[in-house]
Symmetry: C2
DNA sequence: TTGTAGGCGTTATCAC
DNA sequence: GTGATAACGCCTACAA
């Protein structure tokens, strides 16, 4: 029992293949009778048009590739889930490309996406250079990363976020405020570095001392814990700006293990503000990214690129506002 | 600058299309000279074979659909990520079908997957009935759900897990042990119900009183919190078996809000044991599912179905062992 | 309002 | 060893 094709439907409905195709695509003139006959036949055979054959004709595949480092981080999970919702509404299917922190894997995925004729790509990784993406020749939008002049970037307002986090701690009385997280000052390709800049800007503006401790985002939790422990042991710290919520959780965890009281001895601010963290860690003060808005914008921009790939970018960079989620427990 | 095709490579290499195809598929006799000429041309043009056209010819699409309720739950996220790894190793790409708890959405995704000629499906939802899946005519394997006689089920040993969780609490001295989570005794389609059976089995074996409180898995955290609060207020409780770790976190959260000490006043055991929870909540005792093994088995079984769709199932049900992850803090 | 014919990019079956 | 050529399932001028 092989999958039925257009011609089977046509035979069953007693019409030609063309007519069936017209019904499917709602194209040209058709009598109501014919339509219903065809629909009935399709129903009866549980017919699904072969999307491969349609796309071979230049029709869109309605497939888009989403390249992110992982889905096990609640932030990415929620972002991808929102992207999925926005896409589903427009009949786009997602090919999930979990690239890890692995350039080779990302490269392979890029090739596969090309081979599968995806209509476009949403990229949220930082493994590959511009060239590979340019070579693909596909419409692309990027989350939180600078790919090339032809690729629009969507991110939250990282600078304000970093500044805001620092100012929250300052206002809560902290005077020894540390910055902990991914910061690669040498690499201006990464908008996330603006979080550090926001921190520095505020620290300088109130005349405090800068304390920057950098840990790669991709680093294991075990390493992060060790770094946190070292910071807390060796320095006078009363506030920590973390560049993501999970790192903030680790800070709280380690502090407690060391007998430090949060927020009495040390206060913590996170970054991202996922639903997950708001639900399971309402005690954490954090800078929330507008995840659904980011997702919608990414999808909208990608659709524009898909519909008109050669139009110059109206805008290269989109920064969406962050907001503080305050809790009295971590601060 | 349109994407190059087979014929372009052929021209550039000075050979026929057939030869190029042979090189790509490593098929038939070919001189080394020809091969290298063709490879060079492919490289130069950054040629990617159009996978649509190949599949139209009967070749596998190397696409598989994964249907799960969400990726924002760390358990599903980690399971899907492990599935992705196993698939990537065999050149399979994943179409992510985030079906929520929505039968209609799942139905639509099923149709799309058919239309896209996926090679197979891994299903982990509980929205749709057997018929819809049978109609699809696609090779399917299911996670933790009974779909039909033709669909193999992989799950962890839920019964032992439920029993183990209960016995852990008992051994820690609890005598008023409650069961909290998804349990639909009327519906034996759901292997997860075995967790309840394991609980009941142990409770009966030691002569304690059964206390079963059922909350749908799909219920919001807010509702779950309200239910937990009610249980803790109205009953004498010294131990709670939760059917998933996130619910267990809520129990701890609510207990603390109510001034109850965990584990002195009430002890909690979770279920799932993701890396995420082990990292960010090492204090939680839980029954861990063997996520990587489940993922690998799902993919292996699916590949068998794909390669030989009509072979009767060697085995219908696969139950992988669980293990306790003990912590002294939640118990 | 409906049907015929050619083609999308690739593979496979023939010949040469 | 290599090259024509007919499919694969569908879409779309062009006819009728």
């Amino acid at each position: 029992m092989t999958r039925p094709k257009l011609i089977d439907v046509a035979k069953k409905a007693g019409v030609s293949a063309t007519t069936v195709s017209r019904v499917i695509n709602n194209y040209g003139y058709l009598s109501e009778k014919t339509k219903s006959k065809v629909f009935a036949a399709m129903e009866e055979l549980n017919y699904q048009p072969n999307s491969l054959a349609r796309s071979l004709h230049g029709k869109a595949t309605k497939l888009i590739g989403v390249i992110f480092p992982t889905i096990t981080n609640p932030f990415f999970a929620e972002l991808i889930e929102e992207i999925e919702k926005a896409c589903f509404a427009d009949d786009y299917k997602l090919i999930l490309c979990d690239a890890g922190y692995n350039a080779q894997k990302e490269k392979n995925y890029l090739k596969m996406l090309q081979a599968n004729q995806v209509d476009g790509i949403i990229a949220g990784t930082h493994n590959l250079g511009i060239e590979d993406y340019n070579k693909s020749g596909l419409p692309i939008v990027a989350f939180d990363r600078n790919l090339s002049d032809q690729v629009p970037i969507v991110s939250c307002d990282n600078f304000s976020g970093g500044r805001l986090a620092t100012s929250e701690l300052y206002q809560a009385g902290c005077r020894h405020i540390f910055f902990l997280g991914s910061a690669n000052v040498a690499n201006n390709l990464h908008p996330t570095n603006s979080r550090l800049e926001g921190y520095l800007d505020f620290i300088d503006s109130v005349g405090l001392t800068r304390h920057v401790h950098s840990v790669a985002y991709s680093e294991s939790a075990a390493v992060k814990k060790a770094i946190i422990k070292e910071i807390l042991q060796k320095h006078t710290v009363d506030g920590i700006v973390c560049t993501d919520d999970l790192t903030a959780l680790l800070v709280i965890q380690i502090s407690q293990q060391m007998g430090l009281q949060v927020p009495q001895d040390v206060k913590v601010v996170g970054f991202d503000g996922t639903n997950f963290l708001q639900t399971y860690h309402p005690e954490l003060t954090t800078i929330a990214q507008p995840i659904p808005e980011i997702a919608k914008l990414l999808v909208t921009l990608l659709q524009e690129r898909i519909n008109d790939p050669h139009q110059p970018l109206k805008q290269k960079r989109y920064e969406l506002p962050v907001k503080v989620i305050r809790s009295t427990t971590s601060m």
